[in-house]
Symmetry: C2
DNA sequence: TGAAGTTACATGCCCGTGCATTCAATGTCA
DNA sequence: TGACATTGAATGCACGGGCATGTAACTTCA
């Protein structure tokens, strides 16, 4: 707790807050207006597609939950919304009938592919 | 839009998301459980005290709004909560009777002083 | 095997937020 | 001065989130 570090933490937090707020608001607006996707919905699709985790378009709810900043209930409802929109399907797991497998539908994959450039361009705008 | 920068923006965003989420959750929890203050309530008190802006414990709503990441309506309600808790008072402004002056009450100053170390220690934990 | 604990998920409830609207107080301009 | 635009703030409304709970489906252990 060096005295010199103390004023810095406030500045760092302020900067994090600023970047987070600006970026997430713009992501939310762009994804919603152009692709009818909320940010967390997009993130579920992205995580489900799982390019970053070697996934194959399937995942268990618990695995998703562990990778995302969403509570179990919020994730459950987000998936429900995606399912109603036809972008995702829930399938029972054979081994454990409590667990849900989630799968990207073709429509889901398509929507994700459409939205990805929007997402990336916002990130580039704010981070490049 | 150098190709080499593109993968980096995702990582930067993921990192921002991680830090923001962890820090804000812990701030929220600690401030709430120890001082009965939500994070945005604390931030209003802090901004009102205005050490960082040369304030004197007073501010107009519009000025606060401009400095914070809250919509006008959210700020209005946050101030209402603080007022009900006796930590802040609204006073009409003489020059412009639409505008509100906000003032920290002694209780508000005291609560803020109590909460500040909690706030700072969380920030140090996450940023130092 | 059966009772008690644990896990995965859905759902009821409440809360904080943003958007759109409203209302009163100001400002502007002919 | 009077009509119209603008501004500061409060509020109705809907939505997404977290916490607590319910309920099935496992698991453990004697």
């Amino acid at each position: 707790m060096d005295v010199k570090t103390e004023p810095n933490v406030c500045d760092k937090w302020a900067e994090t807050l600023r970047v987070y707020h600006n970026t997430s608001c713009e992501l939310e607006n762009e994804l919603q207006s152009r692709h009818s996707l909320g940010l967390s919905e997009f993130e579920v699709l992205l995580e489900l597609c799982g390019q970053c985790h070697g996934g194959d378009g399937k995942a268990k709810m618990k695995d998703l939950e562990a990778r995302m900043y969403l509570s179990q209930s919020a994730l459950s409802r987000t998936v429900t919304r995606l399912e109603k929109a036809g972008l995702v399907t829930r399938a029972a797991c054979d081994n454990d009938r409590r667990a849900n497998f989630l799968m990207l539908t073709p429509a889901g994959q398509e929507r994700l592919d459409e939205a990805r450039p929007t997402h990336k361009s916002v990130l580039i705008k704010h981070f490049a």
